[in-house]
């Protein structure tokens, strides 16, 4: 590998229309780079179309862990004209464009080649993406043998033959260009090759399995559907009942029925579907029936931008459902947290007999990153279920607000669950004193829940604090790494509701607070305001895309300049 082109990370953008096989390049390259000893990250954004439209996948390759998207593109492979113009703003003089001369005008480095024509020459235009993958792989100085190995695992017979040919063509193109156009040093420890490579979706799915999920009932809705299909695919391995509901209302209610019978159910949805689950949240609240909801956000209102990302439903998650009742909202920041928090959601729902929402978004759901191998805690889920006795009362008053939960058919007592205000036994009542007792009992659980809140991850010692939540975790982290300012500290929330005083101590001490949210109105900042925490500057983005680490670092730098 040559010295002068050596760098720490490279970003590769692949563009094309739906159906052109961008996903297979993504698989090939991310697997390949990982095997070659690099850290890799990929994220996609796409139009709401089954075919056509302009879609891009960004792949980052790095010597160091990399977990966030960047705006700037080092290598761009547009498989069609539309995607070129769509991503034009991301191209700079430094960008290496792989395209046919004359197709596009750009002030960049053009590597003139007609990849689709080459693909056609070996019999099929569909292997354009394989040629492009091999070319990119070679440009980064990687051994084509690795891709051949992967292709052999993915394809058979004629398809394999054709793909192997395509790899040779792509590798030759790279060699013609002197290889190593953008060489990066591999990670010497080699540890990264052994890492898991997971999307947020897969993290949630595995976490749900670890949490004892044995029933999923959902109505499909982007970008949440990935978890539904993931668990459907795994249903035989882990004995999970899978049912597609007629609507989100039924999805939630069927889950409630399953929990009432002692099962562990989840429903998956996005904002529009979750809006229909509001009454279900409320029912879970008063009946104290546990429930887990995976809410993958996309921009609203209404249909909004169906395939894009936003952190716009935090308030919906916190305030959905009529009446007053406790709930928990968790917002993972990466695939590992997706695993941990999806698992935890089942424990929390069962323990406190409340609805728990795991709040993700399209960006996190569809992005892949390295997850260092970890030992899964082998502790079986604790079912907080009691065998009922003859005098069992479902809503017996207790000091901490938790009444032991029985299930029908298990023990000698009856389990009466009522959406009306009810007596300890579970029968309808309009007694005001009983109302006060039962409402008080339910709301009392908030204290226990707050004590269980996850303390946010913090970094740095400075008194200017950058605060974020959920999917922006690594984007903020990388943005701050670029800035390298010792006056800055950062704090990131994965447990976003209810907030406890322990979680807020860093913010209480801060001189200046800058919040970063992927929405238009600063919903988390508003919640912090309710806790008398004043946010000085908000950095917001709501165009349907996630923040980019390079973009965000500039924005933060600009804010710092202003406040100093």
């Amino acid at each position: 590998m040559g010295g002068k082109n050596m760098r720490n990370s490279v970003s590769v953008l692949i563009g094309g229309s739906a159906g052109q096989g961008i996903a297979s390049i993504e698989t090939l390259l991310t697997k390949g780079f990982k095997r070659a000893g690099f850290y890799t990250f990929s994220t996609k954004e796409f139009m709401s179309r089954v075919r056509g439209g302009s879609n891009t996948t960004l792949i980052r390759v790095s010597k160091y862990p990399v977990n966030a998207p960047v705006f700037g593109v080092d290598i761009f492979v547009p498989l069609d004209t539309d995607s070129y113009y769509y991503a034009q703003e991301r191209i700079t003089k430094e960008t290496f464009l792989i395209a046919k001369k004359g197709d596009f005008e750009c002030d960049c480095t053009l590597y003139d080649h007609d990849v689709p024509a080459l693909a056609k020459s070996i019999g099929s235009p569909i292997v354009s993406n394989t040629i492009a993958a091999a070319l990119v792989f070679g440009l980064l100085g990687c051994d084509i043998g690795i891709l051949k190995e992967i292709v052999s695992e993915l394809y058979q017979d004629e398809m394999l033959e054709m793909n192997l040919k395509a790899l040779d063509i792509g590798a030759q193109l790279a060699e013609n260009n002197g290889n190593c156009r953008y060489c990066i040093e591999p990670n010497l420890s080699g540890a990264s090759a052994n890492d898991l490579f997971l999307s947020g979706t897969e993290g949630i799915g595995f976490g749900a399995i670890a949490g004892g999920c044995n029933f999923i009932c959902s109505y499909p809705m982007s970008p949440s559907t990935g978890v539904l299909t993931f668990l459907a695919k795994q249903s035989q391995n882990f004995a999970i009942c899978v049912e597609q509901a007629e609507d989100e209302i039924a999805a939630f209610q069927m889950g409630m029925g399953a929990w009432y019978g002692g099962g562990r159910a989840i429903t998956t949805t996005s904002g529009g579907g979750f809006a229909l689950m509001g009454e279900g949240m409320s029912l879970s609240g008063i009946t104290e029936t546990p429930m887990v909801v995976y809410l993958a956000q996309r921009p609203g209102p209404a249909t909004g931008l169906p395939t894009r990302t936003e952190q716009g439903d935090l308030e919906l998650a916190i305030y959905s459902g009529h009446g007053e009742f406790p709930r928990i909202v968790l917002a993972p920041g990466d695939p590992k947290e997706c695993f941990d928090l999806a698992r935890r959601a089942f424990e929390l729902a069962d323990l406190y007999q409340v609805p728990v929402i795991v709040l993700s978004d399209q960006y996190l759901a569809d992005s892949y990153s390295h997850v260092e191998r970890f030992d899964i805690d082998l502790k079986q889920p604790v079912h907080h279920i009691v065998k009922t006795d003859v005098d069992y009362k479902r809503y017996s008053l207790s000091n901490d607000g938790i009444s032991p939960r029985g299930i029908p058919g298990f023990g000698e007592g009856f389990v009466l669950v009522d959406s009306d205000e009810h007596t300890e036994e579970g029968l309808i009542t309009e007694s005001m004193s009983v109302r006060n007792e039962q409402n008080g009992k339910r709301l009392k659980k908030r204290e226990l829940i707050r004590n269980d809140a996850i303390v946010p991850e913090g970094d740095g010692e400075g008194d200017i604090v950058i605060v974020g939540w959920g999917s922006t975790k690594h984007i903020i982290k990388e943005a701050l790494e670029k800035i390298k300012d010792t006056d800055i500290a950062s704090i990131h929330f994965s447990w976003v509701f209810p907030l406890s005083e322990t979680q807020l101590s860093v913010l209480r001490r801060a001189k200046q607070i800058i919040s970063v949210e992927n929405n238009a109105t600063g919903q988390f900042a508003k919640m912090l305001n309710l806790h008398n925490i004043v946010i000085h500057t908000q950095i917001l983005k709501s165009d349907g895309l996630p923040f980019f680490a390079d973009e965000l670092s500039e924005k933060i730098a600009a804010v710092l300049k202003e406040i100093r």
Partner: protein, 286 residues
Amino acid sequence: MTTRFDRIVEDNAWCPGCGNFSILAHLKEALDEMGLDPLQSVVVSGIGQAAKTPQYMRVNMFNGLHGRALPVAQGLKVSNPSLTVIAEGGDGDMYGEGGNHFMSAIRRNADIINIVHNNMVYGLTKGQASPTSQRGFKTPVQTEGVHVEPFNPIATAISLDASLVIRTFSGNKEHCKAMLKIAIEHKGYVLIDIFQPCVTFNKTNTFKWFKDNVYVLPENYDPSDKVKAFEKALESHPFSIGVIYKSPPKMTLEEILRVESRMDETPLYSHQVNFHALNDEMNKYS
């Protein structure tokens, strides 16, 4: 008559003379006479006067939201197939607010008994039209009379090939009880639509009106003939009562989901996580 399903109730919310009292009595007797265990029986209901039925029974109860009894009942049955699960409510609850769930529940065929108290009027909200109100029926809202076609639950259920479709009348004790027993005995989804007078808000479809407008299906009637059953379903004034349609045997939802996921018959609460398989599976994602 006392049954093992009796609960001592101090405050019943139904009007004196309400058809709900008869249905409650017939149901408790049917369950008792069939030897069912109250502890292993669950009545899931929604909102409305009919949906209060489980409040007055000695039975497990999930008294949930308006229109939502069926999805809860199905989730419960999947969760623990050994329970006897009844989803009970009125015509507004099951056919109006829960209409979409009604159609899907028929198609899913969980082994549940769907009891619908059909009095052709809204009681709890004080006398507005229900989905089954007859054309011309005047109410404080439908001041000029109902101008929409009444919902035909029997025809709808047959068109979706419901496992068992029954109509009966609360005022015919023997018939109603016998039909409830057939419904309880049956494996698969059962619709049992029970005509019932509302003494307070429906002065048109009175006890006498129902009595004059129903007839018992003859003994030689064959409920397995789907086309004939559909013809019966479209008849009105008089309406037939009895087992109107019975589909060929089919698998239940809880059976299908267990076969599909290679799960045993045990209730979900007894299941454990296979961490060994989880480790293996996650290793594939490297």
